[in-house]
Amino acid sequence: MGYVIEGKTGPWEVVIGLEVHAQVISQAKLFSGAATAFGGEPNHQVSLIDAAFPGMLPVINRECVAQAIRTGLGLNAEINLWSRFDRKNYFYADLPAGYQISQYQHPIVGKGEIEIELSDGSTRRIGITRLHLEQDAGKSLHDQHPTKTLIDLNRAGVALMEIVSEPDMRSPEEAGAYLRKLRTILRYLGTCDGNMEEGSLRADVNVSVRRPGEGFRTRCEVKNVNSVRFVMQAIEAEARRQIAIWEEGGVVEQETRLFEPGRGITRSMRSKEDAHDYRYFPDPDLVPLVIDAAWVEELRRTLPELPDAKKRRFMEQYGLPAYDAGLLVAEAATADYYEKLARGRDPKLAANWMIGDLFAALNRTGRSIEDPPVAAEGLGELLDLLTDGTISGRIAKEVFEIMVETGEGARAIVEKRGLRQVTDTAAIEQAVAEVLAANADKVAEYKSGKEKLFGYFVGQVMKRMAGKGNPALVNEVLRRVLGGG
């Protein structure tokens, strides 16, 4: 049985669908030549078209269309060779034309699907209903002036892809996994940077609840949730709210709601009665978007390897378990790092070092895989020293920490600090003799059958040798000396 919420009157299933707005990576806006970089001075990236001056006309940006097609291909979706732009009419101060140009009836991308992985190792397919291109609005700044609202149009006209899922998700975890997977795909494709903090990826969450086996009940839309964690929290909060209403004999009304992370609740934004009549109609300033099938094929050919394919390849080529491969392909940059590191080395050892030590170091230093404290070449050098026996595993961990701290190379650290592993049997024998001499009582105990103490002797020898003793040799000498004694 999957995820259910136990109500007072029995179990409830949650039904979730996501509408994700992804800002397209492009130099220029969807219908104007203005720049799209984040964080520009307010109103410095605005063309006369974006500001809807009289007589200004939209002209579609080919690169934005290419990005939408790439994304559609990445979502295993149908590409509609004929699509159309409509006007969505409503008044708002940061919507200069009084309408948003969007694809209401005829989106550029149709049905597709993506596969998500859950923590129990299972996978599920989530359907994509459609993807369409539309313009973003500007921003209303309500906190810049005591009585006035200021408008920043930098974002006005920037291309967005609205990616609508089927109501296929049944738990907050699935919604989180879907959103993360979608983000990974978009980042692999280079069509959206997936940055939820800066708002380049935003999610509207549709939630309803039902008794297991029932048809759909009324859904509510929670608007503009801006992190994976909040999406998961918002679903749970909204599901519990709806369950409480149904269980008290009430009826859930279809409405648009907002999630308040601080209070962990959703609150009403507008009800169905207040819903706008957007008066959609085909934009007469634009002709239908007709795409050449050959262009779609060209884009398909130049698509990068996507996470699912890469994961399969990592499992086959490097013999990695699914879990490790999944972690390594989550970001294209991580996968690239891994492949650089694993080239000519033990792939499992490389994976362990990345997933363990490197990821921990990234977390601790707050740095990203694109700007790691230790580059793949550096970590590779360390692994080589480990593999050829120059240093022990314990020393390797130590050297890695110094690399993170100082940025020095592994070989240089080992040489400078004299960390080279001791393989000189005489030196090891001497250390063993000293340890055994200092622990005569324990030797006696060992010999009378307390064999656990072997590990203690190993530790003492290593300690005496400052960790540099070759562990295999230390073991061998100890066993010989103790056994023969």
Partner: protein
């Protein structure tokens, strides 16, 4: 012959022959404007300094023998074309003080061809009207008068200021825009020629939008030849307008030399509407007879959906206008009436900025696009629109061009027909079908009514066959020999 009486083609010859300078020509027109503008109100904004500077530059090029296609020719620009640094009002309070920092493609082409801009001409507010009465700056007045009736007449609309200016010899030619007849009807009322090109022939970039799927810029001048000369400069593909056509621009003036011999001219029987004045019917028959004499074959054709054209137009055009005019919200430019909150600011700004006719059309357009009405009105209108286009496509299998009257009457006194918008809308009954079908059409002055007011005939052609309608228009012009002068015309 006075300088203001020259046709554009004649003036061009004299300029190139250095018989007259651009400065002299411009000054003559500026004097004419000074004399008649108070009576005609043909212009909203005059730009004499700009005109003289352009004339000076033209004279320098002419002196060097480097004449541009329209060098030194004084034109009037409908105040719907955005002109860089020159106020552009669309005859609305909303844009009363709006000075665009950009130039429309059509006016940029005219400027680049050396034309001299005398000023911005009056129109119905946002080009919505057929009489000029909806202008926020007061209507332009026709230079024509009835001999026994002192009431000022309408120059037609919406390009009434351009028509009045050209007819009164205040400019050699003018730009107009035509959404449902706004070039052809005022041309007919003022006794001049005007061409509405195929939709997509001229760029709409920088023209204040009324109804995007219908709006089209075109020339207005006293002869078909002058219109052809202007159109050649105005037309052409523009990457800034997604609906502009990637069609080559032929030398339109060459088409003037074409004979109509052997052409098949269609007379659409559905245009013989009830209540049409007999003199218009007579003129229409005369026009057909002239073309027949010139060697064309006259055929009756049927355009069965014609009766639905006007209601279709009055759904499509307001629907688009209701959306196009949403940008006039007081936020970024144009009129703003301050208020306590955003909604109130919208309401006050739009209440003060728009006139009654514009408001009426915004309301109609909002209504026909509303949930629950969209299918019954907008969607159905789109279907009828495609049927109207099909009518024409089928007719053009049998004929090469169509001949119709331009308007169902001669000019009427200003203020008449104002009580009932539907009566006013009937003015467009003959011009609207070609607009809905996106076809090229021209109006050419072919005679006068009993009171001496001009009447025009319309020629409608196949898509992008402006050359065809220019040839037919020229033949009509030649046979008609229209030589009447308006009562108010420059006296130089």
């Amino acid at each position: 012959m006075s300088l203001t009486d020259l046709t554009l083609a004649e003036a061009r010859k004299k300029l190139r022959a250095r018989e007259v300078s651009a400065r002299e020509l411009t000054e003559a027109h500026l004097r004419a404007i000074e004399a008649l503008q108070p009576k005609l109100n043909a212009f909203i904004t005059l730009t004499p300094e700009l005109a003289l500077a352009q004339a000076k530059a033209a004279d320098e090029r002419l002196a060097r023998g480097e004449a541009l296609p329209l060098d030194g020719l004084p034109l009037a620009i409908k105040d719907l074309f955005c002109t860089e640094g020159v106020r552009t009002t669309a005859a609305s309070r909303m844009l009363e003080n709006f000075i665009p920092p950009y130039e429309s493609t059509v006016t940029a082409k005219l400027k680049a061809a050396g034309a001299v801009f005398l000023g911005k001409t009056n129109l119905d507010e946002f080009a919505m009207g057929s009489s000029n009465i909806t202008s926020a700056f007061g209507p332009a007045v026709s230079p024509w008068q009835r001999p026994d009736d002192p009431r000022p007449l309408t120059p037609g609309g919406s390009s009434g200021g351009s028509a009045a200016a050209v007819a009164a010899r205040l400019a050699l030619g003018a730009t107009g825009t035509d959404t449902g007849g706004s070039i052809r009807q005022p041309a007919a009322f003022c006794g001049i020629a005007g061409i509405k090109p195929t939709y997509g022939r001229c760029s709409r970039y920088g023209i204040v939008a009324f109804a995007s799927s219908l709006d089209q810029a075109g020339p207005m001048a006293r002869t078909v030849e002058d219109c052809a000369i202007l159109l050649e400069v105005m037309a052409g593909f523009d990457p800034k307008d997604s609906t502009s056509a990637e069609e080559p621009v032929p030398p339109f003036a060459e088409a003037l030399k074409r004979s109509v011999r052997g052409l098949r001219i269609g007379i659409p029987k559905e245009y013989r509407v009830e209540g049409m004045p007999p003199e218009i019917l007579a003129l229409w028959e005369k026009g057909a007879a002239w073309l027949e004499t010139a060697g064309a074959e006259i055929r009756e054709v049927s355009l069965p959906h014609t009766p639905h054209a006007l209601p279709t137009y009055y759904i499509v055009a307001p629907a688009e206008c209701s959306s196009n005019l949403a940008r006039y919200d007081g936020v970024r430019y144009g009129l703003r009436v301050p208020a306590e909150d955003l909604t109130e600011m919208y309401e006050k700004t739009r209440a003060a900025g728009f006139g009654a006719e514009v408001k009426r059309r915004i309301l109609i357009g909002t209504y026909v696009l509303s949930a629950g009405y969209y299918d019954a009105y907008y969607l159905r209108a789109q279907k009828v629109r495609s049927l109207i286009l099909r009518d024409f496509t089928e007719a053009f299998r049998e004929v090469d061009a169509l001949l119709t009257p331009t308007a169902p009457s001669a000019a009427f006194p200003l203020g008449e027909k104002m009580d009932d918008p539907v009566t006013m809308y009937l003015n467009d009954v003959f011009t609207v079908p070609a607009s809905l079908a996106g076809l090229p059409a021209l109006s050419v002055p072919c005679g006068t009514d009993a009171q001496g007011l001009p009447l025009g005939l319309q020629v409608i052609g196949r898509p992008f066959d402006e050359e065809g309608i220019i040839a037919v228009g020229r033949a009509l012009e030649e046979s008609a020999g229209f030589a009447a002068r308006p009562a108010l015309a420059a006296q130089e």
